[in-house]
Amino acid sequence: MSAATVTKRVASRIPHRIKLNLQAIVGRAYPRIIGANREPSWIFFEAVLPLLGIAAYVFIYQAIGDRAVAAILQATSTAPWGMCGDHACANAAEQAAYLSATQANVNALIGSVVLGGTMIAFWLNVLWSMASQLYWEKEIGNLQLYMMAPMSRMALLGGMAIGGMFMTSVRAVTTLVVGVLVFSVVLQLTNPLLLLAVFFVTLIALYGMGMMLASLYLLYGREAWNLSSLLEEPIFFTSGFYFPAGGFASPQFGGLGRAILTFATFIPATLGLDAMRQLIFPGAWGGKFWIFSPDVEFGILILLAVAFLILARSALAYLEMLARREGRLTSRHQ
């Protein structure tokens, strides 16, 4: 058979392969877009319950803020105009300015918690419905069916990611809207287009990371469950879901804080959240807790998105081969 014939035959298969993989993407996304919304219990479990966690952190800032306000307003013999931080207020004007600044800071922190709590839905979806998904599929016996099917594994992961993004966005937007209304968060949107761009690039980078982790998890048994569980609170902490992550760069944390921040910037949620907070609460906290400007963070997020997608493809090919060789693809309850 001549080279030209082979090339022609391969080329003739391309439309078929594209169609097949698009069908695989749609097929895998379908249960997450349509199927997951058929059971209305998601409204309670995935939109209302996350508000409880958010509420707890909101009330922490509220409680500390209330005590700070009480300290500002409490007149004593040594501080007739109350305390302005670590010193006595000089006069009523300073007291009023300090009170106003404290209330604005509390509002921005509460808004940060609502935004961070909303983004947690995406991180949890990446962990449990992307990274761990192939492990679940192995446990219930679907993985071998996927492996025998002729479509690309990337199409399978892509479908999972698209479906997961849509499903989680519906839930997250519900949580965000209710959170903003319930906790009376005042938003100051400055650049809506950049905000949307940052949000979507953050999602692509996050789900690219999830696709990469999914391939790593192919090798795992119960370690997968424990690893995903381990990547919850420590990542909430390092990525600053409930506080501005730029706080790690404060002098009081020294080199360790900067090291944590450097590690955290490889998790797309860190820079995504920081950029979104800057765009929604411009000037909050005197701007002293921002990591980079939103433009720079947007650029880094694009790089992360591309890098994770490329890494996901390479890792999937390598680890699938390794899992086949070690006979771990179909072993359940390891």
Binding site: F45, L49, L52, A71, N105, L109, L230, F243, G247
Partner: protein, 281 residues
């Protein structure tokens, strides 16, 4: 019979939880999560302090100790009510255990024991770390240690009872364990004054919190471990003995409730043929 059931169920729970890796790595995994959770609160406090030059060590200790003891809540509840789901759907062994001559109630308590033990270790490490490195102001009077131990036992007893109630319900539900695992502790997290005083909540929410026994457990635990402070917890009108009495009464009430709910749900599940149903978790 009950002791043997408890003992072997506890051993089984420990093996299922830990034998996927080396013991040292398992312990590391077990304490990293709660310590990271505590660090979130530390950073929240420090960021607030840095923004407003406002330091409030009493409030920080209040938050830190409450959060440390909340580790028991998540672990104990999840350890208790996930048993039915995992045996029924995941390992599909519930029918064999259920027909064996044991008390299934005791079996569930035994299975939760390993999670309670690991949680206890995480609590001790978190508290010790806070006292050693974060200036959490602990103040433990030797004379109050027995009372602290009594409240700890009552708190865990109450938690296990609540967990058994939920386990009974999960006989009848499909795959909602993870939702319950997040939701029920989430309710306690917000309404029981774990991280902030009840006075921060709206009045209706504070009243709801006062109806939950764990609120009193957290309050008396902090009274016994922390020095006196000026935080208005919303429970100041009760003295220690009254709080302890409320905790004892509500723990007993929840124990009776757990037996009733568990037996009732078990009966309904058997009647409907749901004991070993599969819902493709």
């Amino acid at each position: 019979m009950y002791w043997r059931t408890f003992k072997w169920a506890a051993w089984l729970g420990w093996e299922m939880d830990s034998n996927w890796t080396e013991p040292a790595l398992f312990l590391l995994y077990s304490v990293i999560k709660p310590i990271a959770g505590a660090f979130i609160l530390v950073l929240m406090y420090l960021v607030f302090a840095a923004i407003g030059n406002f330091r409030d060590p009493a409030m920080f200790s209040f938050i830190y100790v409450g959060n440390a003891f909340f580790i028991f809540v998540g672990s104990t509840l999840f350890g208790t009510f996930q048993v039915i789901q995992s045996d029924r759907e995941w390992y599909q062994t519930i029918r064999y255990i259920y027909v064996s001559p044991i008390s299934y109630y005791t079996y569930i308590v035994g299975r939760a024991a390993s999670k309670v033990a690991v949680a206890a270790l995480a609590v001790v490490i978190t508290i010790a770390f806070g006292a050693a490195f974060l200036d959490v102001g602990l103040h433990i009077d030797a004379g109050e240690v027995p009372m602290f131990l009594v409240t700890l036992v009552l708190g865990l007893f109450c938690l296990i009872s609540i967990g058994i109630c939920l386990a009974g319900i999960s006989f009848l539900t499909a795959r909602h364990t993870h939702g319950l695992a997040e939701g029920i502790p989430g309710i306690f997290y917000v309404f029981c004054g774990v991280l902030f005083p009840l006075t921060t909540l709206p009045a209706w929410a504070a009243d709801f919190g006062r109806a939950i026994p764990l609120t009193y457990w957290f309050d008396i635990t902090r009274r016994l471990l922390l020095p006196a402070n000026n935080i208005d917890t919303g429970l100041s009108f009760f003295n220690d003995a009254e709080i302890l009495a409320l905790l004892l009464a509500s723990s007993l009430a929840f124990f009776i409730l757990s037996v009733l709910i568990f037996k009732g749900a078990e009966y309904l599940a058997r009647k409907a043929g749901k004991i070993d149903m599969l819902t493709s978790y």
